[in-house]
Symmetry: C2
Subunit: 266 residues, 2 copies
DNA sequence: CATTTTTGTCCGATATACTAGACTGCGTGA
DNA sequence: TCACGCAGTCTAGTATATCGGACAAAAATG
């Protein structure tokens, strides 16, 4: 089985992208970078071309230009490419533009070190939820998570907090219908989701068991930015059998630390 | 004085970019992102247009497309834009593709915490030196440094290590002539630089006093990757009056930690 | 070994992305 | 009030970026 066939299997919709259409370079670049992010691994130019539905010649042209600019770099000797150093610098500039980002990361580190559990920094990207950074727990059966992978918002505890500034209609308009279908096939009733958001808003935290999968229990607390908006959350991802006493203890710790990060004028 | 005039002052060459030339979108995007990185602050679209020498209509077109893709995002209410969340994710993917990047960052954190000094992770980008991450010292007169700013390689201690895989001719071809001119106006003789590289190669570390500026003393040690290549360095940036005993102590610590990071098969 | 697939580069034709410039509306300062 | 500069959008025309396809060389495949 070629690498491409594997790719096609994981992202068939992209592979069937309509051919014959002329697209501009910028669009190709954006599609290419998104594809590379989803793939999370270096790819060969030929495979990229097929995956994003672009002509080979065009793909070579674009990839070479991006290599020149250091936005991509070659990996290994057989023509694989992946993100380049320029991306690191752009991304660093993005994160650190928020003046207390270093404090957020420090908090993330300390929470992980003190608890030994998986801790994540989460936010939205468009109408999806993404993990922005994480510290994975250490045990033999570690619960780890993929930074940058987009997940339907209703699958997550943090999502309930991140939407708590919206009214019901805004939420209804924001979330695509298919995102209410949980990974195990169950459909989450929209009204339940709206109620959960309201609850999260009242409580100032959110908790969910066996939502995105059967074996995790998530605790999430908001980080308020300078203007009191809730654009980031900290969250614990615990094994679902964590004793209640410990969950309560960790929730308190999480809320205290998250609270300590916010509202400190910008 | 408008913001633009300030910008022009700091990057006059870009502002005088030849007009009237038609460029493709990809090139505009790359130039735009580089400009934003150099500026290290949100900019308004009009100012971007002038700074990168692109027509206003084109700049709006491109900026809007990048906003849509989350590679840029609006900041504040008066039309400023800066890097967006997608950049964070691309950059994260870049750094963490190196499997032991988390260990490198952990080492950076520990060195900073234990010493209280400024510690940096450094590398090359093209034929320039860049700081990839740093932890700044805490004292009242902190020596801080800008991640992502490009600096001529001969100005840095790390640069001597990062070129140590090249022979003299390769170095001569690699470094632009004007990069031998130090910030204080002195010219560093090329032969001295080549000798310093050879010394760094023999010693396995590099040290420089009052090179990039009058008041810092830099210590650098290499991080070897899986194949023994020297693509990253860790370095201390110390006040120039740091007692010799302490410098020796810190150098030993730095070398030990940097050594501990390398050669652990990929 | 012969056969097939893939890689990387090149080229001419043309659909179109980019540009110049016009236009509106807002805010500011005289 | 007017004059001015800037933000943001829109349009028509053309310079050119993109595309399909051809090609040689390299790498799988049988």
């Amino acid at each position: 089985m070629t690498e491409y066939e594997i790719l096609e299997r994981t992202a068939p919709e992209a592979a069937t992208a309509a051919g014959g259409e002329r697209k501009r370079g910028i669009d190709r670049v954006i599609i290419l970078l998104e594809a590379l992010l989803r793939q999370r691994a270096p790819m060969r130019v030929g495979d990229i071309a097929r995956l994003i539905g672009a002509p080979r010649s065009t793909t070579y042209e674009i990839v070479n230009r991006l290599l020149e600019a250091d936005m991509l770099e070659t990996v290994g000797t057989d023509g694989h490419v992946y993100f380049g150093r320029a991306m690191h610098l752009f991304g660093w500039a993005y994160s650190h533009h928020n003046a207390h980002y270093p404090r957020i990361i420090e908090t993330l580190d300390r929470l992980a070190a003190e608890s030994g559990e998986t801790v994540q920094l989460c936010g939205l990207r468009g109408n999806k939820y993404v993990v922005l950074d994480s510290r994975d727990s250490v045990g033999p059966f570690r619960i780890s998570s993929q930074v940058g992978v987009e997940v339907p918002i209703p699958w997550t505890a943090s999502g309930r907090l991140l939407l708590s500034h919206m009214d019901d209609d805004a939420v209804r308009a924001f979330i695509p219908a298919e995102d209410y279908r949980l990974p195990d096939g169950r459909w989450l009733p929209q009204e339940d989701f709206l109620a959960a958001i309201a609850l999260a808003r009242r409580q100032g935290y959110s908790e969910s068991a066996a939502l995105a999968d059967r074996f995790t229990w998530c605790l999430a607390a908001p980080i308020l930015d300078g203007r009191g908006a809730m654009t980031l959350t900290l969250c614990f991802v615990l094994p679902v059998d964590t004793p209640e006493a410990r969950r309560i203890e960790l929730l308190a710790l999480l809320r205290e630390r998250a609270m300590g990060l916010g509202l400190v004028g910008d």
